[in-house]
Amino acid sequence: MKKHLQLLAAYAVQFIKVRFAYRADFLISTGASVLATVFAFGFLLVLFQKVPQLAGWKFEEVLFLYGFSLIPFGLFNVVSLNLYNFGNDFIIEGKFDRVLLRPVASLHQVIFEVFRIESLHEVVVGLLAVWLASSRLRLAWGPLEFLLLAFFALCGGIIYVSIFLMLTCVSFWVEDRVGVHPPVWNLIAFGRYPLSIYSGFVQFLLSWIIPFGFATFYPSVRLLGRAEFRLYAWLVPVVAAAFFTLALALWNRGVRNYASTGS
């Protein structure tokens, strides 16, 4: 464990060095992502000019939810790059052989090889939105709430990683350059609004099949102190652990399949 953390740090330092070496590229891509995030909040403002409430949620509460959802999402984005490129770079181009030749867990090597550090801005913007919404709602923040926020954000990040890791594992069996991530990726946005506005089917989907709701909505309900779905917050770490275990098992099966087919 200690070695893995040290390695993670070494990988990160290396990667950041490279990233800063291409300064223009870094600045442009950071600038573009910040703009995209800010525009999304603009949409919220416009929406609430027209409707005063969304399924009983005030503007500030939706702002909180939206802001909070960006925190695990940003953490996930920092490490997710290789999940999308895995089929092409690692399986088809054969980089996975190199991974198997090193005495470090294969998943560690794949996930922590590249870092999209500019995605940390989403964490920052998310925290700002949460802070803004909390102060307008006069929420009381004690040490427990701060701890919960950090804990939920981490669980949320793990949920995102687990879901997309499972999709990545498809590459172990199917030769596929594009990957099956895009349709699921498009569902992420659904988790940024109160689940109560959706039909039962969508609620079920986002809670138990592709559990983005446990990364964003249920934690926010708890932090906002709303009555609905209150107990679901306890399930957040359970869902995160369950899905991560599942994803890891699938990954290990994939590695075994790779080793027997060499494809």
């Binding site: 040290q6 390695l7 290396q14 490279v18 052989d97 198997l100 030749l101 090193r102 005495p103 867990a105």
Partner: protein, 340 residues
């Protein structure tokens, strides 16, 4: 010979299931629906032992099963059947412990990180393999000395020439001083000077650390320079495993004598030497060549005949190039004599 081999391979096989791709757009669509699978025996009941400190050349035509064997030996691939023990490990079962004791270089692709400076790659590898700073410094000094890495340590890998990259890859594979080194075509695409550097380095490592080396190659000069023992594989079967010298001795059918005659007057007398077994080919001005079957006529006899007839200024006797022998083996001739 020591009792326990370092690498022990028994009846090792690897079968792949592949499907026939149909051609064209319509074929591609039919591929989606129905596939005709066939089983390919990439490696077929291969058996060998390798002792500590040996340098073994592993050759065979493209698709013969060399790389598949290496991938099983390095733990990347799980065999379909057979046994394999390397440095006390079953590679694919104890992969993460096992890979600490091997170094691997694939000539076709780098093991280094593309975008970062060479020295930074080495530093990462030092952490990955838990190499102490002291050992790291000592080994880097040796690598610098033999491989002349200093000039491009600060260059990102993607900017290196192929030869430079290969040297860095070799150093990277040996940073943790593994007892076993696997090289898959380490000299592919390199110029003569770069090839020589690599070979010298491998010799040095083998002598200094007693590193066991298994290398695949298409360049038989690699084998002649480095390996006493050679294994030949084709269609997944091991065709020959033994000393290079024995292969030559048993399979060398022809030798050639190249000689330079004194002047054109002497050259005019050459046709008198020719008979059905003996053809004289001109090579250059006043230089001639005779290729002869050494089972039919001895070198001594031939020389006597030549010297009796003409005045010779210079003379050279050569073996048939090893390429020719291997070509004959791939073509399916000539092996019964050795394997019997």
């Amino acid at each position: 010979m020591p009792a326990a081999p370092l690498i022990s391979v028994r009846d090792l096989s690897k079968h792949f299931r592949t499907f026939k791709r149909r051609e064209g757009v319509w074929g591609a669509i039919r591929n989606l629906v129905k596939r005709d699978y066939q089983s390919v025996h990439a490696v077929d009941r291969v058996t060998f032992d390798i002792q500590p400190g040996e340098m073994v050349g592993y050759i065979g035509p493209n698709g013969a099963g060399k790389s598949t064997t290496i991938k099983m030996l390095t733990g990347i691939l799980v065999p379909t059947a057979g046994e394999l023990l390397s440095n006390g490990f079953v590679p694919w079962k104890q992969r993460r412990q096992y890979v600490k004791s091997i170094g691997v270089v694939f000539g076709q692709r780098t093991q280094l990180w593309w975008d970062i400076a060479v020295v930074e790659s080495f530093k990462l590898l030092r952490k990955i393999y838990d190499v102490s700073q002291h050992d790291y410094d000592a080994r880097m000094e040796l690598f610098n000395h033999v491989l002349k890495l200093k000039d491009y340590l600060d260059t990102p890998v993607r900017k290196l020439s192929l030869g430079e990259r290969m040297r860095c890859d070799l150093a990277a594979a040996l940073l943790h001083n593994p007892p076993i080194l696997f090289l898959d075509e380490p000299t592919i695409g390199l110029d003569v000077v770069a090839k020589d550097h690599i070979r010298q380095f491998l010799k040095e490592i083998n002598q200094r650390y007693r590193t066991t080396v298994l290398l695949t190659t298409h360049d038989l000069d690699d084998i002649e320079e480095l390996c006493k023992r050679i294994m030949i594989i084709d269609h997944g079967r091991l065709l020959y495993d033994g000393p290079l010298a024995l292969l030559k001795q048993k399979l060398l059918r022809t030798k050639q004598v190249k000689f330079v005659v004194k002047d054109s007057e002497q050259a005019a007398r050459l046709p008198a030497l020719e008979n059905d077994g003996l053809k004289i080919e001109p090579v250059d001005h006043l230089t001639y060549r005779i290729v002869f079957d050494r089972t039919k006529i001895s070198v001594a006899d031939l020389l006597r005949q030549i010297l009796a007839e003409v005045e010779v200024r210079d003379l050279l006797i050569e073996d048939e190039p090893i390429e020719e022998i291997v070509k004959r083996i791939y073509a399916g001739e000539a092996l019964k004599e050795v394997t019997a």
